[in-house]
């Protein structure tokens, strides 16, 4: 059988590559902005706050570019099967990445405001949440680039952990408010930042669900307790077939 790694139409491959390149560029900028938003807060760096806010414009433009490329691809090549799922997933991923970047901007704005007041030692309450959400984002992007169902499927459970962290931080900061009512505004800003991180985690979870659909054609959204914990849970005996398929085997060949 012919080499099937590429499409017969070279322009189809080029369009898919362009779509993925723009998406990966967007993902990379989004990761950087989220990391920078942490720096804004911990390093009390106003310039970094301004840069993070300004860099969002580039991500917004890339989101529009990914959507345009996706629509052009649908119009020109009418993709099916894996190609179709990847194009749809790319467009949905772009939307979620843009919203994560928006959360980074919200954090930077809050940080800029907090940095004008005396240092709050409680900013370090947010460290574990930051580490978890940036790690989740990094992992889900790796799952996307490496076609790893297991890695993507592990994300929703981590989002639950993030929600619990947010809840705990909010409670702790509420206690601090009662102790130091003169700084209630700053504590409220920290609670909002925790909330922005939690929202970013929600978008990472959405991305993970779209990545699973793109790879395995299985919709794991809104499954509650039935949500699968691994590729084997999701695909059962088909998990092995999916691996073999990815490796290029074919029952019919």
């Amino acid at each position: 059988m012919a080499d099937t790694s590429r499409h017969i139409l070279g322009s189809y491959d080029a369009a898919l590559s362009a779509l993925q390149n723009d998406l990966l560029m967007m993902a990379s900028l989004c990761e950087r902005n989220l990391r920078n938003s942490l720096g804004c807060l911990l390093q009390r760096d106003e310039d970094l706050c301004n840069v993070t806010i300004a860099d969002d414009e580039e991500i917004d433009q890339l989101e529009k570019q990914v959507d345009k490329n996706g629509i052009d691809l649908l119009r020109r090549f009418q993709p099916v099967a894996t190609d179709l799922r990847h194009v749809v997933a790319a467009m949905k991923l772009a939307g979620n990445l843009e919203r994560i970047a928006d959360q980074a901007v919200n954090i930077a704005r809050k940080a800029r405001k907090l940095n004008r007041a005396p240092l709050l030692p409680e900013v370090h309450f947010l460290d574990p949440m930051y580490r978890e959400v940036t790690s989740m984002l990094s992992d889900v992007l790796r799952a996307y680039t490496e076609n790893s169902i297991d890695l993507a499927i592990s994300i929703p459970a981590r989002d639950k952990t993030l929600d619990a962290m947010n809840h705990e931080i909010t409670e702790n900061l509420t206690v601090q408010m009662t102790k130091f009512p003169e700084r209630i505004t700053e504590y409220l800003d920290l609670i909002f930042i925790a909330r922005h991180l939690e929202r970013a985690g929600d978008h990472v979870k959405n991305i993970a669900e779209d990545v699973v659909f793109a790879i395995a054609a299985e919709d794991i959204r809104h499954m509650g307790a039935q949500r699968p914990g691994s590729a084997a849970d999701l695909l059962g005996e088909k998990a092995g077939e999916a691996e073999a398929w990815k490796a290029g085997d074919s029952v019919a060949s």
């Binding site: 059988m1 499409h7 189809y12 099916v80 099967a81 894996t82 179709l84 074919s250």
Partner: protein, 279 residues
Amino acid sequence: MERTQDIIPLPKPAGPSAPPETPAPPALRNAFEVANLDVWYGQKHAVQGITLNVPERTITAIIGPSGCGKSTFLRCLNRMHELVPRSRMTGSILFFGEDLYAAQIDPAVIRRRIGMVFQKSNPFPTMSIAENVTVGLRLNGIRNRAFLRDRMEQSLRMAALWDEVKDDLGKPGVSLSGGQQQRLCIARAIATQPEVLLMDEPASALDPIATMKVEELIHQLSRDYTIVIVTHNMQQASRVSDKTAFLYLGRLVEFNDTDQLFTRPREKQTEDYISGRFG
């Protein structure tokens, strides 16, 4: 409405009657049950070991690259491949449970019950539009003018052509446009009220508007007919069919619900073909 001639008895309605307050939808029977079908043209092994069932009142698309055996398979379903010299077939095809290839079966009768529409529209050039539609009935001895007239109008309406030709029924069939000629051929095929329509790339020679009209017609006809359509146009297969079979080098690679086959095919070879990685 009368049927011209039946050798195979008409199938009986399936299943016991349900209580009136909760009518159960009748289970779909298989119009065709194909088992281990092999076809040779001389030394060429055109179809190899195909087994699949075609449910009644569904649209089944056959896709695959040129030379994969699509048209041969289709022609086996109404025994038209027998018209090709040195053709040979093994395996079995049941038509509503009856052996299509049993010794007592008359192929001519089978072809009345299983109509066919070809890639190139082929109205009879010396006949008018009306005569083209009723030719099958007249060849079967029906002479009642009122009946022929009613059946002609009904067939042209079903083929979504009546409004366009009702004032020109006496004009030659070949005076119509390509898309109209193909719909005329579909009207001719359904005038004898077959149970199944086989379509061999029925829209491949038509412009996009005519193609859409034929696709809409196929969709409308599927309420009453079992349709098997060979097409090179995968978007067309995706749009019009309920089930799709992918053939490659004479073999059935995958047969699945159309939405499944075009979003999550089971076989890598199917994926490679439908996404344009070989062909």
